[in-house]
Amino acid sequence: MLQISNLHFSYEQADSAQSTLNGIDLSIKAGESVALIGPNGAGKTTFARCLNGLLLPTQGDVHINGESTKDRTQIIGIRQQVGIVFQNPENQIVSATVEREIAFGLENLGIERNRMHAIVDNMLDKFNLTQYRQHAPHLLSGGEMQRLALAAVMAMSPQIVVFDEPTSLLDPANQQLVLSLIADLHRQPVKDDHAPISTILITQNPEEALHCKRLLVLNQGQILFDDKPDVVFRKTDELKNVGLQVPAEYEIADYLKKCGQEKSTFDPTDFQRYYAESLK
């Protein structure tokens, strides 16, 4: 579905030594739930912008279902297939009312009117925004606005949704809400003509990465680790070296091990089960 080969990107001229992305090779399959973490300045947002052709590789390629983002004739199709929900939804909301915001992308695709109305109604319902349909987006709360941004992206029925730090400006209750919305995308019944949706969650919060099946660690424009979150977070020292924290349970497990208690009964995955139980 998503194929990235030898991706380099530099904001400066091509001959500049300072590039933001430094040779990324990666493929993401349909239905995958991927988290991406990395220190500030690692290139996370740049990476996101390369995925739908907002930025074009200075070297290497990004292919979405076989089409290169460099092929300008395919760009509309690529942008429909790869939706991005940005950190601050205010930056991506353009319309005067909530329902027009959801319709905006569909209008641009030339979707027939009745079908468009049906999609808009469906999205309003799904993201619990029906009561706000005539409201001005800027009067919504942060969590509601983030829901609207996602609804507008989902109206395009994308195959990949990239979330660029969607929770970093929200209060804890709304952070949970956004995470559950992402989880819901993976629970949707898959239509015959559609591949299951893939999500990429860019986050500063290592605990959020535990909600995903696969974790990428980006550092200085390169992929440092690519594995299950549980495997990656056990590399506590290596992550700390690049300025990343691990969830508390991994740090304690690592500490017990360093104190010579290799056979300790404390295990991060057991703790996570206990933690999930305690939240119920």
Partner: protein, 298 residues
């Protein structure tokens, strides 16, 4: 790290404060209702609550940016909106760090940006330079590496710290910060946390609005919880963590480190529950290990 003491640290007292935006129109809704709160000099008070609970509005009242509809804000016993109190004097003593202060960076170099405030105080060049240096060191940025750079080419964590340094260069006695760690990575959060700890340790007052429960648990001497414009908790962190209902009303879950402690206790690996940071847990585990080894030797 050193902080100059030009004045005694200040005391803030809020009496029966109520406020609504658009109070002359029908749509005006109460944002703060009958708030009573006093912040004593040297405290590190965290204000928490869901979005829209009135945290930022309360902070803006403390610094005199907003005027209450009813009630008073007293600093060192004087109503800050009375005629004989100078708000500009107050703001010099009480530095306010807005949400995303980096959006206020404006100068061509980091030095010029931080120097802007002190220059306006009429300090001479060497005094300004030493203020800039001290402020940068306080936020853990090495001055020679940063003073000549453009603030716009720094990482987001560095920008945030430069913006805070601009407020620190005014030598405030009290710092009020609105979500200083929002959208920062763990290095950035750690740097802010260290700096707040040191600033507070030097006897200064800190008022901290944050959603980061781990940060609050580690730093705050006192927590104030706002819910829909009303104060629903005012006390120490430990008591709050023991009252899960209030914590949940404020929109928070227990800090993850505390849950790890509870689990360790259940496993019989720890015997203390009142720990709130990974560092404290490690210390406790070490204590237990030493006791056990002493016992086995004895």
């Amino acid at each position: 790290m050193e902080f100059n003491h030009f004045h005694l640290p200040l005391n803030i007292k809020i009496e029966n404060l109520s406020f609504r935006y658009n109070r002359h129109s029908e749509i005006g809704t109460a944002v703060l209702e009958d708030i009573n709160l006093s912040v004593r000099a040297g405290e590190l008070v965290a204000i928490i609550g869901l979005s829209g609970s009135g945290k930022t509005t309360l902070l803006q009242h403390m610094t005199g940016l907003l005027q209450p509809d009813s009630g008073r804000v007293l600093v060192d016993g004087k109503d800050i909106h009375s005629k004989n109190v100078s708000l500009s004097q107050l703001r010099r003593r009480l530095g306010l760090v807005f949400q995303f202060p980096e959006t206020q960076l404006f100068a061509e170099t980091v030095f010029d940006d931080i120097a802007f405030g002190p220059q306006n105080l009429g300090l001479d060049a060497s005094q300004v330079a030493s203020r800039v240096n001290a402020a940068l060191l306080t936020v853990a940025l090495n001055p020679p590496d940063f003073i000549d750079r453009s603030p716009f080419q720094l990482s987001s964590g560095e920008k945030r710290r430069v913006a805070i340094a601009g407020v620190l260069a005014m030598n405030p006695e009290c710092l009020a910060l609105d979500e200083p760690t929002a959208a920062l990575d763990s290095t950035g959060i750690l740097a802010i946390s260290h700096f707040l700890k040191a600033f507070h340790a030097s006897g200064k007052t800190v008022i901290l609005v944050s959603h980061n429960i781990d940060l609050i648990a580690r730093l705050a001497t006192r927590v104030v919880v706002l819910r829909a414009g009303q104060l629903c908790y005012d006390g120490d962190v430990e008591t709050l963590l023991c009252h899960q209902d209030i914590l949940q009303q404020a929109g928070f879950a227990l800090p993850r480190a505390r849950c790890v402690v509870n689990y360790l206790v259940e496993l019989g690996l720890a015997n203390k529950r009142n720990l709130i940071s990974v560092e404290q847990i490690k210390l406790h585990l070490t204590e237990i290990a030493t006791t056990v080894s002493k016992q086995s030797i004895g």
